[in-house]
């Protein structure tokens, strides 16, 4: 049975017979349900399923609610999965009217992809298409019809696969990529020369030397690379650069420590999970299907507001460095942009603006958006030839190890 084909015919007895929960079918169905959950992206292992089986012995199986929570507390471990789980549970564990239940895993996967695009207005379904689909189905099966709209597909962005030359360049870039965008002293100690006496080692030394202290062993604070947050503008004015920028983000996500990636134009979407895939083409294809606001207008203020409200507390901890990638063209609310930039700057360690709209050598950031961004960024990195990732890397290599103090001087000493 292929993973993607429908699992057919879990026979539950004739339609009028009472559903036998205690029969051997429960285990069978549990395992099938586990597979459905796994197909939906939940972390379901055989071990987990065995635990579910054991846990079920403790509850009254007749109470559907308890059964539901038992499964959910074992199989779901992230709030984002609740909706998928509920949907799968609802469909899987209902009493089938004609003795069969069929699950098409792929269609559930399709539902999942649709879920992520909530910010779109609901698409009109074409009745003729649905009608045709319904006829194809075996009437004795309950099946989930894959709901895939042609209209939606048009909004997906297709990226050409990476060429050999690009792959070659990516390799070169990765080799030159700085290991971090700054280090942070943690509260943890590691052995080595430092200022704090390592008591544990001192005791060992003293015992070895019969109670004499000959030297004071020390340890020092451990350093870790700072987390990095990438916010990339993918609006219409940036369209030409989007592909290469996503390649760049993929490279960063793969080579730096703890990178969180977001793209925005009229709305902001987190793409951390998608961009982490090893193969850049897979990652881009996935992102193309997830993010649907490609090439729209830029509403930086509104997007940063959303970022500050829903994401900043989760991704800006531990002295994160934020890299904003935008050309500074903005069609949104400028006073709002000022407020949100101020907030963003105060909640991160360092704010870097990477500006790719610099085909003109004498470019000056004069647009309203750019004027709003400039006072809040620690570092302004203009990139003249974006087609070449190496230029960006060079700019990153030349970054000072600390954010410039200029911004503080302007704000607090003026």
């Amino acid at each position: 049975m292929s993973q993607n084909g429908p699992i057919k015919g879990v026979f539950l007895g004739p339609a009028d017979a009472p559903y036998d929960y205690h029969g051997g079918k429960l285990t069978h169905n549990l395992i099938l349900f586990g597979r459905v959950c796994r197909a939906l992206g939940m972390n379901v292992t055989p071990n987990r399923m065995m635990e579910v089986g054991r846990a079920l012995a403790h509850i009254q199986l007749g109470r559907k609610q308890d059964f539901y929570y038992t499964l959910r507390s074992h199989l779901v471990n992230h709030p984002r999965e609740f909706a998928y789980f509920d949907e799968a549970f609802e469909i899987f564990w209902r009493r089938p009217s004609d003795g069969f239940t069929t699950l098409n895993l792929q269609s559930l996967g399709e539902e999942r992809r649709k879920k992520k695009t909530q910010f779109l207005p609901p698409l009109e379904s074409s009745p003729s298409e649905n009608g045709a689909k319904a006829e194809e189905l075996d009437s004795s099966m309950i099946a989930l019809v894959p709901t895939y709209s042609r209209q939606e597909r048009l909004r997906h962005k297709d990226f050409a696969e990476m060429t050999a030359a690009e792959l070659e360049m990516a390799k070169r870039v990765i080799a030159k990529m700085p290991e971090s965008l700054g280090m942070r002293r943690t509260r943890r100690f590691e052995s080595g020369k430092g200022r704090v006496i390592n008591m544990r080692r001192l005791m060992k030394d003293m015992i070895r030397k019969n109670g004499d202290v000959t030297r004071l062993p020390t340890h020092r604070r451990k350093e870790k690379p700072r987390p990095v947050v990438l916010l990339c503008d993918i609006s219409g004015s940036m369209e030409r650069y989007t592909r290469v920028l996503l390649h760049f983000m993929h490279t960063l996500a793969g080579s730096l420590y703890q990178v969180e990636s977001f793209v925005y134009s009229t709305d902001i979407t987190r793409i951390t999970r998608q961009i982490r895939q090893k193969n850049v083409d897979d990652a881009l294809e996935d992102i193309g299907g997830t993010v649907l606001q490609w090439g729209g207008g830029t509403m930086t203020g509104e997007c940063l507001h959303r970022f500050n409200w829903t994401w900043s507390r989760r991704v800006l901890g531990r002295g994160a460095v934020v890299m904003l990638i935008t050309d500074g063209w903005d069609r949104g609310d400028i006073p709002l942009l000022h407020r949100e930039m101020a907030r963003l700057q105060l909640s991160c360690r360092r704010l870097i603006w990477l500006n790719p709209l610099l085909d003109v050598p004498e470019y000056e950031p004069l647009t309203r958006g750019a004027q709003a961004l400039l006072p809040y960024v620690h570092d302004f990195l203009p990139i003249t030839n974006l087609a070449n990732l190496e230029v960006i890397v060079k700019a990153l290599q030349n970054l000072s190890s600390r954010p410039s103090a200029e911004i503080y001087r302007q704000r607090y000493l003026a």
Partner: protein, 300 residues
């Protein structure tokens, strides 16, 4: 121990903790299968409270470990009493003991300072394992998480100088997180996961009435309706149940029987902790919310 989910729910209710069915099932299973309970949810929805209530209900000790960045074995598990060891070493020098004897004497349980995790493993009151609360795990770092992973799977701790200490009865473990960062899947996988949401109107009203018995009935309804309304706004930090209860206490202390524009304005700092959020509520908005809350309180 409880024999059914209903029994457990009733026991929690006796401790004035009103748990949803789902949470009760999760706790029940945690107790029965010995798995840690991993609770997530916004601040102030009663995650920490569960551990406290559970320890009272089970008549056992609560061992609490507050996580923070850099939390290490020395503060979480055990530390040697170095000052004591050095003193003792000086005394022993006269006795001319060999190195090995000295070592076994110095690194004995006498000089071991037990921190929460070791306490939780060793301690049991009348054979009853304690409740171990690992609070705000998201504040710790990956290194500690990795250590915890090991502890939670075997409930044993090895101290190089002393050997391995295993729990006689594994503690009931409650882990909470505020999601300021994602906890690693490997850890979550070992736990039963439950997301505590904000309560709906009736549940919250029940909580307010239980926790503040002297609140006038109408005021309790108005407070609950007002807070419920507030949670639907786009706030930086939405008020939790903790804030509802604080606010109730504040309004009782001010001898209020009803919400009024003036008192709400004066006490807004009890519910909202961010200036941006306070600014969103101008007098007209507050007045509208009060009016709505009053209607809602009458109707419900």
């Amino acid at each position: 121990m409880y024999n059914s989910v209903d029994e457990l729910q009733a026991a929690l209710g006796e401790q004035d903790y009103i748990a949803e069915r789902g949470l009760s099932v999760a706790i029940y299973l945690a107790l029965k299968t010995g798995k840690p309970l991993f609770l997530e949810g916004d601040a102030g929805v009663g995650k920490t409270e569960i551990a406290k209530v559970l320890s009272t209900a089970l008549e056992t000790d609560l061992i609490r470990m507050q996580c923070y960045e850099g939390l290490d074995v020395n503060t979480a598990v055990y530390e040697w009493n170095y000052a004591g060891q050095i003193l003792h070493m000086r005394l022993m020098e006269n006795e001319g003991l060999g190195r090995e004897a000295m070592e076994s004497e110095l690194f004995s349980e006498r000089f071991l300072l037990k921190r929460p995790l070791l306490q939780a493993i060793e301690q049991s009151r009348d054979g009853k394992a304690p409740v171990l609360l690992i609070d705000e795990l998201d504040r710790s770092d990956e290194e500690f998480e990795a250590f915890l992973l090991e502890l939670l799977s075997d409930f044993q701790i090895s101290i190089p100088e002393l050997g391995t200490i295993a729990a006689k009865a594994p503690p009931v473990v409650v882990v909470t997180s505020n999601r300021t960062r994602e906890i690693h899947d490997a850890l979550k996988r070992r736990c039963l996961y439950y997301w505590i949401d904000y309560p709906h109107f009736h549940k919250e009203l029940q909580i307010v009435e239980r926790k503040a018995p002297d609140v006038p009935a109408m005021l309790a309804r108005q407070i609950t309706a007002f807070i419920q309304d507030m949670r639907s706004m786009e706030l930086f930090k939405r008020p939790g149940i903790a804030e509802t209860l604080d606010w109730t206490a504040a309004l009782i202390a001010l001898d209020q029987n009803e919400l009024s524009l003036e008192t709400v304005q004066d006490t807004l700092g009890v519910i909202l902790k961010y200036q941006d959020d306070v600014e969103m509520l101008d007098p007209t908005t507050i007045q509208n919310m009060i009016d709505r809350a009053k209607v809602e309180a009458q109707r419900a």
